[in-house]
C-alpha cells in the first residue's frame, strides 16, 4: 500500500482493518482529543455527548475533506450520534455505519456477515478495488505483523521497570492506527523509553483516551507509569487481528469469530466481561493500582465501577470523573489518589 491510497477514516473500534487494507484503503482512526475547541454548532447538533466526540465532529466540520470516506462504528451512543449528525448535515462526505451485533447467535452472525460485506463494498467504492482472496491474504500478513509488534510493546510495558512509558505507548498505538502497516510496525517498535524503578504501576480503565495528554499529565512528575489499559484506544484497540481462509467468505467468517471472541468497549460489553478483562490485564501487567478515568457523558464505564471495585482482589481502584475543561486538574487529582495512601478495594 502506498500513501496515495484513499484514506478511510475510522471512528470506533469494530472495524477489521484487514478488509480495508485488502481493497487498497488506508485506515486512519479518528478519536477527537482531550482538549481543544468545541464548535457550538457541533455541540448543539449532538446533544449531551462525550466531549471527545464533540471535538471530533468539530474537526470533521472544519476539515471535511481530510478523509476520502468515513466509517463510523455503532459501538457507543456517541459514535452513533456522530453518524446520524453527519448523515443529516454532511451529504458530501462518503459515510458508512458499521453496526456489529454483540451477542453471538446464528441470526447475529448472519447480520454481522451482511455488515462486513457492506463495509467491504463501501470501501471498494472508495478505492475502486474489489475484495479478492490474494489481497485478503496479503492484508492478513501485514496486519498480523502489526499484531506481533503490539505484543512486543506489551512485553516492554510489563517489564520491571517498564521499558516504555504509558504516554509513549499510547502515542505509538494511536499513530499505528493511522499509519501504513509497515510504518506502523516501525512506530510501535520505536516506542521505548526509560522508566525508573519503583514508580507506581497503573492499569488504566474507563473511558477511551483520544490522545495521550491525560497519560502525559499522569506521568509528568515520574511517580506513576501506566503499564496497561483495557480501553479501546490503547492496548484494547482492534489492531492486529486478521483471519486466514481460502475464500473471501471464509475470511469474513474468521473475522466474525474474532469479533465475538473479544471483549468490546464498555458501552457494548457486559459489566461482568469488562471487569474480568480489567482484572486479567491488571494482574498480567503487575499493576499496583487501577485508575478509572471516566469522561463526563461517557456513561458505560460508570456502570462497571461497582463491579470493578468488588473484583480487583485487593488491588486498589481510584476513579475520577472528568468534566470538560478540567482534564489537567483531574489528572493531578488522580495522581494524588494513586500515590497517596491507597484504600484497598
Amino acid at each position: 500500500m502506498t500513501t496515495s491510497a484513499p484514506v478511510i477514516g475510522v471512528v470506533g473500534n469494530d472495524v477489521p482493518r484487514q478488509l480495508l487494507l485488502a481493497v487498497g484503503g488506508h485506515p486512519h482512526r479518528l478519536t477527537g482529543s482531550w482538549e481543544g475547541d468545541i464548535d457550538p454548532v457541533a455541540q448543539q447538533l449532538l446533544g449531551a455527548t462525550d466531549v471527545a466526540v464533540t471535538r471530533l465532529l468539530t474537526e470533521l466540520r472544519e476539515e471535511a475533506r481530510a478523509v476520502d470516506g468515513l466509517v463510523v462504528c455503532n459501538d457507543s451512543q456517541a459514535h452513533l450520534r456522530l453518524f446520524y449528525v453527519l448523515r443529516a448535515t454532511a451529504p458530501e462526505l462518503p459515510l458508512h455505519l458499521l453496526d456489529m451485533p454483540r451477542d453471538d447467535s446464528e441470526p447475529a452472525r448472519r447480520f454481522a456477515r451482511f455488515q462486513l460485506e457492506a463495509l467491504a463494498a463501501f470501501c471498494s467504492g472508495l478505492t475502486g478495488r474489489a475484495l479478492d482472496d490474494a489481497s485478503l491474504a496479503d492484508a492478513a500478513v501485514v496486519e498480523a505483523a502489526l499484531g506481533d509488534a503490539l505484543r512486543r510493546l506489551r512485553v516492554r510495558r510489563r517489564a520491571d521497570p517498564p521499558q516504555c512509558s504509558g504516554a509513549g505507548a499510547l502515542d505509538a498505538i494511536l499513530d499505528a492506527a493511522r499509519l501504513a502497516p509497515s510504518e506502523a510496525v516501525s512506530r510501535i517498535d520505536a516506542a521505548q523509553t526509560s522508566v525508573p524503578a519503583g514508580v507506581t504501576r497503573v492499569h488504566m480503565t474507563g473511558s477511551s483516551h483520544p490522545d495521550a495528554a491525560f497519560y502525559r499529565e499522569l506521568e509528568r512528575d515520574g511517580r506513576c507509569v501506566v503499564v496497561s489499559e483495557d480501553h479501546d484506544t490503547g492496548d484494547a484497540a482492534w489492531l492486529g487481528p486478521a483471519a486466514s481462509g481460502a475464500t473471501v467468505a471464509e475470511v469474513i467468517e474468521g473475522l466474525i469469530d474474532a469479533h465475538f471472541e473479544r471483549v468490546t468497549t464498555s458501552a457494548t460489553a457486559t459489566s461482568a466481561d469488562r471487569v474480568a478483562l480489567t482484572r486479567e490485564v491488571a494482574q498480567a501487567a503487575g499493576a499496583d493500582v487501577v485508575a478509572a478515568v471516566v469522561r463526563d457523558l461517557d456513561e458505560g464505564p460508570l456502570w462497571d465501577l461497582a463491579d470493578q471495585r468488588a473484583a480487583l482482589e485487593g488491588r486498589p481502584l481510584i476513579s475520577v470523573r472528568v468534566t470538560p475543561g478540567a482534564e489537567t486538574e483531574s489528572a493531578r487529582e488522580l495522581v494524588r489518589g494513586l500515590v497517596g495512601p491507597a484504600v484497598p478495594a
Binding site: D103, F111, F114, A267, A306
Partner: protein, 420 residues
C-alpha cells in the same frame, strides 16, 4: 362542530377509566406473582406481544418508572441505586424500577413490583444492557437482551408507508436479525414456562394491536384539526398509554375506541381546555411525570395550551404492522420504533409534519441525555418558522427539572407570539 362552547376541564372519562383499570390490573398481577406466577419486566421496545401470546404477564419498565416518579418515589429509588455503587445521574428513567426494588413494600408505589422471573430489553444506548444485566443478578430473575440495530436506512416520510411497507422502511437485514432473536426468545420462554407459542393467538394479538393503532390514528387526526384544543394533553397521555401497555387485547381496542368517541363528542360539544387559547404548544420528549400540572400552568397568563405529546402521535403513526407472518411483523414493529421518535430524518420530518398538522406556534423540546442528534430535530422545526426551546434534563430526575416552568414562561413570552 355544533353546540355552545364549554370551557374548563372535567377529566376525560377515558383517562380516569384507564388509570383506575391500570391500578387494579397491577394489584391483581402483583398478587398472582406473589402466589408464584412468573411475570416479566419488559422495556418499552421489547416485543410484548410475544409475552402476551405465551400468557406471561408483563410490566413495562418505563411505565413503572413513570409511576415511581408520579408517586414521588424517584429520589429514594435513585438513592438506592447510588447505594449499590451505581451512578444516580445516568439513565434515571430506565433505572428507577431497579432502585425501587430496594425500597420495601411500604415505600414503593402500590406495594412494589414483585420480583420478575424474566427481564427483557433491547440493547438501546450504552447502559440499558448493563441495567438489565443487574436485573439478571437478582435471585430468580433471568435477563434476555435483544439487539438494537441502528437506523440504516432512515427514510423521511415513513408514516404513510410503515404499516405495510416496513421491509423497505427498516431494511430486511435488520428485521431478519430481530425476528431471529424473537424466535430464539420464544423457544426459551416456551421451555421456561412449559407452554407452546400458539401462532394463531399471536396473529390475533397482532391484529388487535393494529386495530388499536387505527383508532389512535383517528383520534390524533381529530385533535390535529380541532380548534380550540378540546382535551388536555395530560388526559390524553394516560388514555393512550395505559391501553398501549395492554396492546393486543380486546380491552385495549375498546379503550382506544372509547377515547376516540369521547374526543369526537367533546369536539362536537365545543369543549375547550382553555377558552382563551392564543398559543398552541408542542411537547417533544418524555412526559414530566413529577409535575403534570406544569402542562396547564401557562394557560391563564399566556393563553398557551399544550396540544401535542408524542404518546398519542406515535401510537397513531408508529405501531401498525400488517403482514402474514406475525413474528416477522412483530420484529418490524420494534426494530426501529424508537428511531421514528429520535433519529433524523425520520424523527425530524415527523415532528415537522405533526407540528404543522396541529397548528403549533412553539415547541418545548425536552432533551434527555439519551436523545441522539436533538439539534437536527430542533433545526428542522426552526427552519419552518416554529420556535423551539430545548431543555436538557431527564424527566425522571426532579433535581434537573426544577426551573422548567420559569424557562417555558420566558420562552413563550419572548419567542412565541400569540397567533390568535
Amino acid at each position: 362542530m355544533s353546540g355552545a362552547r364549554t370551557a374548563g376541564a372535567s377529566r376525560l372519562e377515558s383517562a380516569a377509566a384507564a388509570t383506575a383499570f391500570q391500578k387494579e390490573w397491577f394489584l391483581r398481577l402483583a398478587e398472582r406473582a406473589r402466589a408464584g406466577e412468573p411475570i416479566a419486566l419488559a422495556n418499552a421496545d421489547a416485543p410484548h406481544e410475544l409475552l402476551r401470546a405465551l400468557g406471561i404477564p408483563y410490566v413495562v419498565n418505563q411505565w413503572w418508572s413513570s409511576i415511581i416518579s408520579a408517586k414521588r418515589a424517584g429520589p429514594a429509588s435513585l438513592a438506592a441505586v447510588a447505594a449499590q455503587g451505581m451512578p444516580d445521574d445516568s439513565r434515571q428513567y430506565d433505572v428507577l424500577p431497579l432502585g425501587a426494588q430496594d425500597l420495601g413494600d411500604t415505600d414503593a408505589p402500590w406495594g412494589g413490583l414483585p420480583e420478575p422471573r424474566f427481564a427483557i430489553a433491547e440493547r438501546s444506548g450504552d447502559v440499558t444492557h448493563k441495567i438489565f444485566e443487574r436485573w439478571g443478578r437478582r435471585p430468580g430473575t433471568e435477563t434476555f437482551l435483544l439487539s438494537r440495530t441502528a437506523a440504516v436506512p432512515a427514510p423521511a416520510g415513513w408514516w404513510d408507508r410503515v404499516a405495510h411497507d416496513w421491509e423497505d422502511v427498516f431494511g430486511a437485514a435488520r428485521i431478519d436479525l430481530l425476528e431471529g432473536e424473537i424466535r430464539m426468545l420464544a423457544a426459551t420462554l416456551e421451555q421456561r414456562v412449559g407452554r407452546a407459542l400458539d401462532h394463531g393467538r399471536l396473529a390475533e394479538i397482532m391484529a388487535l394491536a393494529n386495530e388499536q393503532a387505527e383508532w389512535n390514528r383517528r383520534t390524533r387526526d381529530l385533535l390535529a384539526a380541532a380548534r380550540p384544543l378540546p382535551v388536555a394533553v395530560t388526559d390524553i397521555i394516560p388514555a393512550v398509554m395505559v391501553p398501549q401497555w395492554h396492546r393486543g387485547t380486546a380491552w385495549a381496542v375498546e379503550a382506544a375506541r372509547r377515547l376516540h368517541d369521547e374526543v369526537a363528542r367533546r369536539i362536537d360539544e365545543g369543549h375547550a381546555v382553555h377558552d382563551g387559547e392564543r398559543r398552541r404548544l408542542m411537547w417533544i420528549g418524555r412526559g414530566l411525570w413529577s409535575d403534570l400540572d406544569m402542562y396547564r400552568s401557562f394557560q391563564e397568563e399566556f393563553g398557551a395550551v399544550f396540544v401535542w405529546s408524542m404518546y398519542l402521535a406515535i401510537a397513531a403513526d408508529g405501531y401498525a404492522r400488517y403482514g402474514d407472518d406475525p413474528k416477522r411483523a412483530l420484529a418490524a414493529r420494534f426494530v426501529g420504533l424508537t428511531d421514528l421518535l429520535y433519529v433524523p430524518p425520520m424523527s425530524s420530518s415527523w415532528y415537522v409534519k405533526e407540528a404543522l398538522a396541529h397548528g403549533v406556534d412553539g415547541v418545548v423540546h425536552l432533551v434527555a441525555d439519551d436523545t441522539p442528534a436533538p439539534g437536527v430535530i430542533t433545526s428542522a422545526l426552526e427552519e419552518r418558522g416554529i420556535p423551539v426551546l430545548e431543555i436538557r434534563a431527564s424527566n425522571a430526575d426532579p433535581r434537573a427539572t426544577g426551573d422548567v416552568r420559569e424557562r417555558i414562561a420566558g420562552f413563550v413570552r419572548e419567542r412565541v407570539p400569540a397567533a390568535r
